[in-house]
Amino acid sequence: MTAVDTATQGGRHGRDPEPRPSALDRARVWVASGGLKERATLLLGLIVVLLVVMSILDGVGLTSGRFNSDYLASTLIAYVPLALLALAELFVITSGRGGIDLSVGSMVSLTGVVFAMLYQQAMLPLAAAIVLAVLFGALLGAVNGFLTAYLGYPALITTLATFYAYRSIALVVSEQRPISGPEISSFYSAAKAVELPVIGASLPLVPLGVFTFLLPVAIVAWFVLNRTTYGRKLYAIGTNDTAAQWAGIDTRRTRMMAYVTAGAISGLVGVYTVAQFASARPDAGTSGSGMALPAITIAVLGGVAITGGIGRLSGILLAALLIVWLNASILLVVPGNEGAQAQLLALGVVLLGASLLSNASIRRRSTGLTKPVGVPGTAAGTSR
C-alpha cells in the first residue's frame, strides 16, 4: 500500500515535465506496488518460463518424448485430484487458528472404498452412489470440524488422529484388497481423455475429469469464497478470530463448515480416484507419502497463508498446474526412475523458494525498506 503511494507520488513530483506516464513507467509502478509479488502472477510467470524452456529443449531434441499440447493435456488427469485437494486445504487453512487437514488422503481412501461398495456391491445407481460418497466425505470432515471448532482440539492433532483412524477403517473394511468389478471398470470413462465438442477437433484431448469434477467445484468454490457471506466470514475468522466473534460471526460454525467442505471435496476426489484407477484402492490416498502433504504443499505454493485469512482460488489452480506440468516436463528430460526422484527435488525447491521469497518480500514491504520506484535494482530487481 505504502509502496503504491510513494511510487505514484515519486512519479508525479520527479517527472513533471513528461506529458503522461509511458507504458514502461506504468509497468514500473505496477511492479513496485507488488504486482510481481502477487502470487498468481509469479506462478503464471513460472509456468510460461517452464513452457518456453521445455519448447526450446524439445526443439533442440533433448527430450525423450514430444513436448506438445497433447502431452500437456494428457497430464491433466493427475491435475484434477491435486488441485481439488489443494482447494480443500485452502478452505481449512484459510479458516485460521492453525487450520490444516492431514486427513484428506485418508478421507479419499475411505470414501473411495465406500463409493465402490455402494456402486459395485450394493448396485446403487451411479448418481446416488456419488452423492452418498460425497455426503459421507462431508460427514468425515464434520468429525474433524466438530473436534476442532467446537471442542477446541488443535487442527493438527484432530486431523493426525483422523488420518490414522480413517486410513485404518478403509484398510480394515476392504480387507486391504482393492474393490473392482464391471461397473467400476466402465466408470473409467469418467476420467479418460475426450475430444471436446464443437471446437474439439483443433484442440488436444483433455481428460474428462477436468470438466466433470474440477470445473464445477472450482466455479462453486470461487462463488462461495468471493460472492457469499460465508466466504467473507471464512476470511474474517481466519484473519482475526476474536474480532470476527465480536462482529457477530458464529466462528465455530463457520470453521466447522470449512472442514465439512474439505471432507466433501475429498469425497469427490475419492470417487475420482476410483474412476482414474478403475478400482477402489484402500490405500489410494495414503500410499507413499500420501495425498495430504502434496495438497498442503500446493496450497502453500499457491499463496495460502499458513496462519489463515489469506488464500485465493487462482493461486491454487495455477500452483497445481505448475507442479503437474513441471513433473511432466521432468519426466521428459530426466528419463526413468531418476525423473520420478527429480520431481521430489523440484517440488522441494519450488516450495522453499516461493515461501522464503514471498516472506522476504513481505518483510521488506512491512518494514518500509522498499525504495520508491525509479531507482534501479530495488523492488523490481529483487522480486525476480
Binding site: 492453525g98 490444516i100 492431514l102 473436534l147 471442542l151 477446541g152 482440539y153 488443535p154 493438527l156 492433532i157 484432530t158 493426525l160 488422529a161 483422523t162 488420518f163 490414522y164 483412524a165 486410513r167 485404518s168 477403517i169 484398510l171 480394515v172 480387507e175 486391504q176 507413499g288 507419502s289 502433504l293 498442503i296 504443499t297 502453500v300 499458513i306 496462519t307 526413468g336 526412475n337 531418476e338 526422484q341 527429480a342 521430489l344 527435488l345 517440488l347 522441494g348 525447491v349 516450495l351 522453499l352 515461501s355 522464503l356 516472506n359 518483510r363
Partner: protein
C-alpha cells in the same frame, strides 16, 4: 522501569526462588494418566493373550519403541518451541541408506558407522534449523520442503535399488542376543538415557528453560535476551542427530537389506507419541517423560491388536482414538487450570 532497575545484585538469588515456583511438578497429571492407561492395557493384554507379558514379547516391543522415543525427545524440544518437524522420516532415510552403503562397501567399526549416521542427521537437521530460524517461514512449510529434498537425496543414494548384504556391525542395537543385556534391549536403554538427560535439561538447564520461553512467546523471549535463532537451529539439529541415531537402530532391527520405504510414516508416529505425552502443539508446554510414555502406548496398542489376532491395520484406529483421548483430557485439565 525504575522498579526493576535497582535489583541487579539479588537477581540470581531471586531467580532461584522463582525457578522453583514456576517449575511444574516432577510428574504431571498427563504422565500419571498415561502410566495408568499403560498399566491397565498391559494387564488386560496379559489376561487375554498370555504370551504378551513374556520377555519374548516385551523385548521386541521395547526395541520398536526405542527409535520413536529417541526422535520423540528431539521432536518434544521442537514442539515446545512451537515448531514442528515433518522431515524426520526423510532424515532417517538418508541417514540409514548412507550408513548402510558405507557398511556394505567398507568394514568400518560400529562406532564410526553410528557417528556417521548421527553426523548426517545433524547436518540435515541443521539445514532445517537455519531455514526456519533465519527464513522466518512457518516450520511446517520448511520441513515439508526439506522432506522432499531429503527424500530425493536418499533415493539418489539408493540408486533405484535396495541395499543388500548389510553386515551385522550394528547388532548392538538389534533384536538378537547381541542387542540386549540382562533382557534389556540396548536401543531402549539408550532411549531411556536420552529421555533422562533431556528431562534434566528441560527442567534445570538454562538453555532448556529458554525453549519453553521461545514456545510461549518468541518475541518476549527475544526481548528477555534469549538468542532465539541459534537456539532454534540447535533444536532442529538435535532432532536430526537423534533421527540419525534412530536410523542405526532401524538398520539393526531390519533384515540384511534396506529398501526405499525405510522411515516412511515415522514422522507422524513420532508426532503422535509427543502429543499423546501431553506436549502442547501450540508450544510452551511439554515433557519428554510423557513422550516416552506416549511412544510406549502407541506401540503397545499396535502390538496388542496384532497379538489379539485382530487385523493389524485396526491398531491405527486405536492410535487415532488414543491421540484424541490423550489430548482431550489434557485440554480439559488445561481449561480447569485456567479457570482456577
Amino acid at each position: 522501569m525504575t522498579a526493576t532497575a535497582p535489583a541487579p545484585a539479588p537477581a540470581s538469588a531471586s531467580g532461584q526462588v522463582s525457578l522453583r515456583r514456576i517449575l511444574p511438578p516432577v510428574v504431571t497429571g498427563q504422565e500419571l494418566v498415561l502410566l495408568g492407561v499403560l498399566v491397565v492395557l498391559w494387564v488386560l493384554l496379559g489376561i487375554f493373550t498370555p504370551a504378551f507379558l513374556t520377555p519374548g514379547s516385551i523385548g521386541p516391543l521395547l526395541v520398536q519403541v526405542a527409535p520413536i522415543a529417541l526422535i520423540g525427545v528431539g521432536m518434544t524440544f521442537v514442539i515446545i518451541t512451537a515448531g514442528i518437524d515433518v522431515s524426520v522420516a526423510a532424515t532417517i532415510m538418508v541417514s540409514a541408506v548412507v550408513t548402510a552403503r558405507v557398511l556394505v562397501a567398507a568394514d568400518v567399526p560400529a562406532v564410526l558407522a553410528v557417528l556417521l549416521a548421527i553426523a548426517i542427521g545433524a547436518l540435515l537437521g541443521t539445514v532445517n534449523g537455519v531455514l526456519i530460524a533465519y527464513g522466518r517461514v512457518h516450520p511446517i512449510i520448511i520441513t515439508f520442503g526439506t522432506a522432499n529434498l531429503f527424500q530425493w537425496l536418499g533415493l539418489r543414494v539408493f540408486d533405484s535399488s535396495t541395499v543388500n548384504g548389510i553386515p551385522g556391525t550394528l547388532d548392538f542395537f538389534g533384536r538378537g542376543a547381541a542387542g540386549s543385556t540382562l533382557g534389556v534391549p540396548h536401543s531402549f536403554a539408550i532411549a531411556v538415557v536420552a529421555v533422562a538427560v533431556a528431562w534434566w535439561f528441560l527442567r534445570y538447564a538454562k538453555a532448556g528453560r529458554n525453549l519453553y520461553a521461545i514456545g510461549g512467546n518468541q518475541n518476549a523471549a527475544r526481548l528477555a535476551g534469549i538468542k532465539v535463532q541459534p537456539r532454534l537451529v540447535w533444536v532442529y539439529g538435535i532432532t536430526g542427530a537423534l533421527a540419525g541415531l534412530a536410523a542405526c537402530m532401524i538398520i539393526a532391527t531390519g533384515t540384511s537389506s534396506l529398501d526405499q520405504s525405510v522411515g516412511s510414516g515415522k514422522e507422524l508416529q513420532v508426532i503422535a507419541a509427543v502429543v499423546i505425552g501431553g506436549t502442547s502443539i501450540l508450544g510452551g508446554r511439554g515433557s519428554v517423560v510423557g513422550t516416552m510414555l506416549g511412544a510406549l502406548l502407541v506401540q503397545t496398542v499396535v502390538s496388542g491388536v496384532t497379538q489379539l489376532g485382530w487385523p493389524t491395520q485396526l491398531g491405527f484406529l486405536f492410535v487415532g482414538i488414543c491421540i484424541l483421548i490423550a489430548v482431550g483430557t489434557d485440554l480439559i485439565r488445561e481449561r480447569a487450570r485456567r479457570r482456577a
